[in-house]
Amino acid sequence: MLADPCRLAAGRAALLLNIDALEFAFTGRRVLTGLSLSVGRGEIVALLGPNGSGKSTLIRAICGRLRPDAGSVSVSGVDPHADPQARRLIGLVPQQIALYPHLSVLENVRAFGRLSGVASNRIGECAEYALETCDLQAVAARRAGQLSGGWQRRTNIACALSHSPELLILDEPTVGIDPPARRDIESLLGRLAGHDIGILMTSHDLGQLERLADRVAFLKDGVVAASGKPADLIAKYYAGQREWDVMLLQAPSTRQAGLLGQIGLVADPADGNWRWRGLVDEQTPAAEIERVLDGLPVSQWRVRRPGLGSLWRTLYPPVPETRR
């Protein structure tokens, strides 16, 4: 990777992004209710939460688009709402392919660099840096609209890097692309973090976040409900437990449901009560559970270590269809 020629000579505060007790209400509804979060240099922090948990509002507040009702946001010590120049420190990668399809990759990168405040005499080297960082030189002359999904995603990131931000915010950066392209982007994000860029990302790919994120923050009701290193969080919530995941061929009878409940499994209403999951003490003999399952119309079952998915289900328990 090239040395970044365009990095602003900003202060080197230890915390790149610092959010403290942030509150924001929208049309009378409190969306953020005292949220605190930080991202350090070279750190990848994942933001997790269901729709409506406040992720988008939080990203807008970080980008300076919203004035908080209370609390503070600072990027490298500067409030992005009060000082638009602070936004030059931020690179935003929207969930959509936010490119001009009729422009080439290079033209897109240059255009977004200029719009992000890069001087015309420096845009060339800044664009070259962004292209090389994202391995896009081979397609630099091709129109963005003609590229495959993976290349477009990478161009999406390159455009956000065109002004050499210190904080990169990515909203679902790998949605809709195949596994090899996803791995390429994960590798790119790892390299960027290695270059002292702070990364705040959202994703619903929990396996990806377990591999990639230094820290995860689960949002619930406008605050961070749980945060920390993925392994630490899992250890904290699920020490000595295993997750059982059972798929049935049909919805169980009342008696069968009772048996599943006895061993600690609960139905997932999203799967029409055909799927039952639960955390079981790892000391519990597997044979005991298998004996219960023997009398049920099971299509498959598996036991695994709890992960971020387990934590997700704990923090955001499935809502039965009738309550939706």
């Binding site: 980008c63 688009r65 638009p84 030059r88 929207p94 959509q96 936010a98 001009y100 405040g117």
Partner: protein
């Protein structure tokens, strides 16, 4: 299966209010506008705004003045004209479709100038015909003695008593009258007397003889297409909102204002180029004096392009989807153009529709270019029209930025 597709299309139409409006509200509205115009183009229905002036002020001309004032289809307006030149200036300025000047009391003197003069702008030639026709009808029905007296005098002068020889002489004289009229028409195209010599028609030509109404259509077509292309171009605002580009841009130091201003600048430049292409064609192929009036033209063109650009952006900022914006822009452009005079001259419209036209940018732009190319008015006379266009532009820009600011926060 065929019916299923038809059913799906019906549901799509039914649930798209914009498309429904386009399908079922716009057509009758357009029909209404055209019906109002063209159902009133018969001699009896057209309403003409006229300025009346009685310079003779004899008892007979006062009666005639009152009769003309009360004539159906003529809408006499208040004015302060004192002579023919004042009337000509007002007609040329577009304040009236035509003027009727009673120069002298109508009598049997065939050697005197026609006592009644109808003054009209050559760009509204139809107005002169309509007003003259109504005056002729009025004189024949309400003042038949005038015509008869002149006819008797004419016969007396030309033929005397109706002997055989006189009959031959009369035929010869009538043929000579036809020849004289033809000769007068060739010699003075701007002043044409009626056969009985009572009414003279004076047509005011434009600043450039070559114009022949071309500048009107150049302006009318230019503003129509400026609006169309600006509205279509402004829709990119919605596309960028949907694609996330706006999210990316507003996160930058420039904010959303930069995006909207950039689009406004481009669409204004595009509109200016379009207007230039149209007027260059009018200059090249029809000889209007575009280079000679380039400065004032440029001001009007710039204002027209800016108004179109920002009205387009305002409309786009008020729409939630591309489909909605496409529908709304088609609706807006067609209605503005129909009422504003881009599709037919406004003087053909009923009075209330003409007044409504002043609410459209089309009317102001067309009038401004007419002032420049046809009426050849001074800069001070162009300022009011330019001020209105500047006002529309500033209001549209302010509203767009206000709307866009809200969208940038909430998107």
């Amino acid at each position: 299966m065929i019916l299923t597709i038809a059913h799906i299309m019906w549901l799509a139409l039914w649930r798209d209010r914009g498309a429904l409006m386009l399908a079922f509200v716009l057509p009758p509205l357009m029909f209404f506008v055209f019906a109002e115009v063209f159902s009133g183009t018969g001699e009896d229905e057209l309403e003409m705004r006229v300025a009346l002036l009685d310079s003779a002020e004899t008892p007979a001309t006062v009666v005639l003045f009152d009769a003309i004032h009360a004539l159906d289809g003529l809408l006499p307006g208040e004015h302060s004209a004192r002579d023919r030149h004042d009337l000509e200036a007002m007609v040329r300025a577009g304040r009236f479709d035509a003027a009727v000047w009673i120069r002298a009391e109508p009598d049997a003197d065939l050697d005197a100038d026609a006592p009644i003069v109808v003054i009209a702008d050559a760009s509204r030639a139809l107005a002169a015909s309509v007003v003259s026709g109504r005056l002729q009808a009025l004189l024949q029905t309400s003042f038949p003695e005038l015509g008869i007296a002149r006819a008797v005098a004419l016969v007396d002068v030309l033929a005397g008593p109706y002997t055989h020889e006189q009959q031959l002489a009369l035929d010869d004289a009538l043929a000579g009258l036809d020849r004289d009229r033809a000769a007068r028409g060739l010699g003075d195209g701007n002043a044409l007397a009626s056969p009985d010599g009572l009414i003279e028609r004076r047509m005011l030509t434009g600043a450039a003889v070559a114009d022949d109404g071309i500048s009107y259509y150049a302006g009318a077509v230019a503003i129509l297409f400026l609006l169309f292309s600006a509205m279509q171009g402004a829709i990119s605002l919605i596309e960028e909102r949907d694609s996330g580009i706006v999210d990316r841009l507003v996160a930058g130091p420039g904010g959303y204002g930069v995006v909207v201003f950039g689009k406004g600048l481009f669409l204004t430049a595009l509109g200016l180029a379009q207007a230039a292409v149209i007027f260059a064609s009018a200059w090249w192929f029809y000889g209007i004096d575009w280079p000679g009036r380039f400065g004032p033209w440029l001001v009007t063109a710039l204002l027209a392009a800016a108004v179109s650009a920002w009205l387009g952006l305002l409309l786009a900022s008020m729409c939630r989807s591309r489909q909605q914006a496409t529908t709304a822009s088609a609706f807006a452009v067609l209605i503005l153009s129909a009422i504003g005079g881009s599709m037919m001259p406004r003087f053909l419209m009923p009075g209330w529709l003409r007044d409504l036209g002043w609410l459209t940018p089309n009317a102001w732009v067309i009038e401004s270019w007419q002032d420049i190319f046809w009426r050849d008015v001074g800069l001070q006379d162009l300022v009011p029209g330019w001020s209105v266009l500047l006002g529309i532009f500033l209001v549209a820009m302010a509203l767009t930025l206000w709307r866009a600011g809200g969208l940038a926060r909430l998107k």
